[in-house]
Amino acid sequence: MSNIEREPMFSAKNIKLFTAPLSRDNPITVQVLGICSALAVTVKLKPAIVMALSVTIVVAVSNVVIAAMRKYITDRIRIIVQLVVIATMVILVDQVLKAYAFDVSKQLSVFVGLIITNCILMGRLEAFAMANKPWPSFIDGLGNGAGYGIILVVVAFFRELLGSGTLFGYPVMEKLGLYSTGYKNNGMMILPPMALIVVGLIIWFQRSRDKSLIEKK
């Protein structure tokens, strides 16, 4: 170990670790991880952002913890160890949300708890933290959390704007005077099925921009 040259903290490789999950290696649209909670919390922007932040924190911190312990975890019990680390982080996040943002925490209901089984976490721990040092793992966690967050925010933006005509609760459509011209909110957008369709469209958009992502069959 000692003869390996120490790489700088923000080397090109580490920066790439952060930027790749934002687009080319996005956890939701490319790796297909963490869909479960991504869709249910995107009716409004606010819960979506809170959820994105919580997931980012949990991924980053548990990545660091697991990366630090990676040499002591036996293969057979690694899933339990990972689950315990994640569950601890999620309990912390849940308690903080309950204390400081009770209404959002009520809106997110069971989905905060479901961060535990969010595949992004297990996926990143298995694929990255078990084989890398804490610092790159931390960046990888941040990157993947942010990539997840971007999709969440985009989906929530469209659903809130078109579904309820507001952004962060601010009545955008009303202020623009669209209602007087006969514009109506699309009630369909706030129903669960539209979340799936919006994500489908995002995938379509992304893949037609970047042909290398197209699935070959």
Binding site: T29, V32, L33, G34, I35, C36, S37, A38, L39, A40, I79, I80, L83, V84, A87, T88, V90, I91, D94, Q95, S109, V110, G113, L114, I116, T117, N118, C119, M122, L191, P192, P193, M194, A195, L196, I197, V199, G200, L201, I203, W204, F205, Q206, R207, S208, K211, L213, I214, E215, K217
Partner: protein, 205 residues
Amino acid sequence: MQHLLNIFVKSIFIDNMVFAYFLGMCSYLAVSKTVKTSVGLGVAVVFVLLITIPVNFLVEHYVLKKGALAWLGKGFADVDLSFLTFMVFIAVIAAIVQLVEMIIEKFSPSLYNSLGIFLPLIAVNCAILGAALFMQDREYQTVTEATVFGVGSGIGWMLAIVSIAAIREKLRYSNVPDPLKGLGITFILTGLMAIAFMGFMGIKL
């Protein structure tokens, strides 16, 4: 009896795990390429839910809830362990899945061969933990209600994955635009199926 039937139908169709709450989406998307494997995974999910939901219900009512430890003696009457819910639920689920895997391996190798590879996947399937958390959230009163809810959710999940797998098998011969192939079209299809399932809304027995 009618009350239980109501919970059962509601958990299969109206509160469908996949279409209404997007739970278990990861394995739903990853394992739905052929009908055969998706039936295997579906059966495994129903089976695990059948066992874990009642167990988690009992754990919740006799250990975690505020005042649930009263049976240990007066000193425990106002202990509130509910902040440990997530940790305990996921531990119970992981342990039971491991146990079920070992039991099946021992007693029915043929079943193990068909279910075996799916069981470890299930421990981290959000549908299982999701069902446990919904069970707590909706405050079912008896263990029977909870079990019926668990089995119903499992069957609903299985229904969803088997039907999308059937559609995807047919879809192989269709002319889907390249960027939509695979994941994209599956999302849109699931969305359309979810719209269809919304037709069940409001049904009460």
